[in-house]
Subunit: 370 residues, 2 copies
């Protein structure tokens, strides 16, 4: 293999692929990036952790086609430090890959390309397109609620499923048992009849990073066990979580009769301020609702007390309810408008938060005893 | 105590003082900041770790003079989150301090001001002024060489001493046994006869942060056991390290007969690049000197090899020498001009690095076997 590529192109591709590679690997080849130069003038860079795989294809001057694998993080670090604007020559021979740019020469250890594991995609019968903007929205408004508890592996991702309501829709949901986030978007053409899938957290994270550089649309292909995202020069393929996502619709309250309408910004700032003195462990903030007056407060045995009044529209019976400040801030941070609706029932019941009844996103937050 | 202060002023002062407060304290009051409101319209904020003390005096509207102590990190976090431009009211009564700004109210736990430990400065007979720019230079060009080995506590700071050479000078030195950095500046008026002192690393760090906001000059006062830096509204007082700094002048080579003159920028970039593949443990880079040709190289059993030629002026006998890349980069990062002089003897001898023979800074680097 022998090819020449612009340093900036190599660096950008490597920044994508190295991010999939785990820092510690018991299987040595999983630390490596597969580099494949094709006679048609392309260089393919590929990395995997056996569950998630990324392939990035870029232009290069290819002198001799071929392939090899070298340490992804090392090659990325080298590319970062090479002079700006330089041309990088990559050539593989006799178990080494030579990297030359300017006056610098590297001879890197390689591992055989044939040992590099590739995720067998199999058939991906469902195929649809989703605009990058909508996919970004789906991820941003749900990922914070993904559970990190490994024992509840079926909650360690974003659940995607289609549903026929007044309109056919695609729904994305994530929950950790304390809060739930759901986004509903129109069902894209081709998504009818797709299987319910859970996209793992790591795939969501890598996808989101790639989406920062994508306009236009993303090609989504999936089966019951794999998903593939085509984003221009990058293709991300992931195994899906093999589990059953709970029937979350049952926890979305439909009969909460107390409505608070409030400015999400001042609500958020108030929660953030009083939470300063909350103990790291509980992060509990109390919300006392009275007619058009909301009082946020925190009592901490170590630090003292904090209170702040926030104006809001509320005309039901007064009561008090507690929330985890972090969870409340996560949700409020996703509200874009200048009003948020908080639908409450009582101090022990799940609370529904949404911008309004036509907003694509909806959040459910479990209260805390305070 | 009752006083009102602008949030921006409070925040800036707290950012200085909280930085002295350790995150974990076995003595509770060391987590606190002493706040003292004086009838002359000033607020004094003070923090200490028993070795280092900072006092910051700012303007405030004082209604009732008095003092109390509250958690420094908590009050800093609160000040950060208070609305921009707000006026903050601080009032202490009955074991609590109330903080009010806008609609937010905090009641913080206090500890008695009388329990707050103050470093007794004693007499500080030596007094001189040093321009902030020179003090910044002294710190920046030496602090990286301060030892972090706690057993060699006498190397855990910057050594300051005066000396009569062709001109009377003040010298600052730091070393960890592998490298030495020394800066020589003209002796300020008042520094004649000052005792040799070792300023601890933490004091150096806090002083350097404060210097970012200071123009003009800094008042330095010291005895054999304490030092005080007066920087406008802030006064930093520190105990000095009670130990003997080694006679470092003996390790500064004076007869190194091989001179390399090289562009520090391309030298640095070359070292940084080849060091990419150096093992984390040794970070060894080899430098092969030939007539006007310097070859930097690294061999790593795991990663492979790297080499880069860097042009340089050299006309002595060729030989090879190894350095710790990190140490070499630390030094080269402090060279401002477009040439650096590297005075070498042989592969085992200390190497002298300096911009030229009139530069205030001088560095000695021990080679490594490679």
């Amino acid at each position: 293999m022998k090819a020449t590529i612009e340093r900036a192109t190599l660096l950008k591709s490597l920044s994508h692929v190295q991010s999939v590679v785990e820092r510690r690997n018991t299987i040595p080849i999983l630390s490596n990036v597969l580099i494949e130069a094709a006679a048609d003038g392309t260089l393919k860079l590929m990395a995997t952790d056996l569950d998630l795989q990324i392939v990035e294809t870029v232009e290069a001057q290819v002198e001799t086609a071929g392939a090899t694998t070298v340490s992804a993080h090392t090659l990325f670090d080298i590319a970062r430090k090479l002079p700006e604007g330089s041309q990088v020559s990559l050539s593989a021979a006799e178990g080494k890959m030579q990297v030359i740019a300017g006056r610098a020469r590297f001879n890197l250890q390689t591992l055989p390309r044939d040992d590099f594991p590739v995720i067998a995609e199999g058939e991906l019968p469902t195929k649809f397109e989703l605009s990058a903007a909508i996919l970004r929205q789906i991820i941003d408004k749900t990922r914070f609620a993904i559970s990190t508890e490994e024992t509840r592996y079926y909650l360690n991702g974003i659940f995607l499923h289609v549903s026929d309501e007044a309109q056919p829709v695609l729904k994305a949901a994530a929950t950790d048992g304390h809060r739930l986030a759901r986004v509903t978007v129109p069902r894209p053409d081709g998504a009818a009849g797709m299987p319910d899938v859970i996209v793992p957290r790591k795939c969501v994270g890598e996808l989101r990073k790639l989406l920062d550089e994508v306009d236009g649309s993303v090609e989504v292909s999936l089966s019951a066990t794999k998903v593939r995202f085509g984003l221009g020069s990058a293709i991300l393929t992931s195994k899906l979580i093999d589990g059953t996502f709970p029937d979350y619709s049952r926890v979305i309250p439909i009969a909460n009769d107390k409505l608070l309408k409030i400015d999400p910004k001042s609500f958020m700032e108030g929660v953030d301020r009083v939470a300063t003195i909350a103990s790291e462990k509980t992060r509990a903030v109390k919300m006392a609702l009275e007619r058009d007056k909301i009082t946020l407060s925190v009592t901490s045995p170590e630090n003292g007390t904090a209170a702040e009044e926030v104006p809001g529209d509320y005309d039901s019976d007064g009561f008090e309810i507690g929330f985890n400040a972090r969870y409340l801030l996560d949700i409020l941070g996703q509200i874009e408008g200048d009003t948020v609706e908080v639908h409450l029932a009582d101090a022990a019941a799940p609370t529904l938060i949404r911008e309004n009844d036509t907003a694509p996103a909806l959040y459910v937050l479990m209260p805390m005893r305070v």
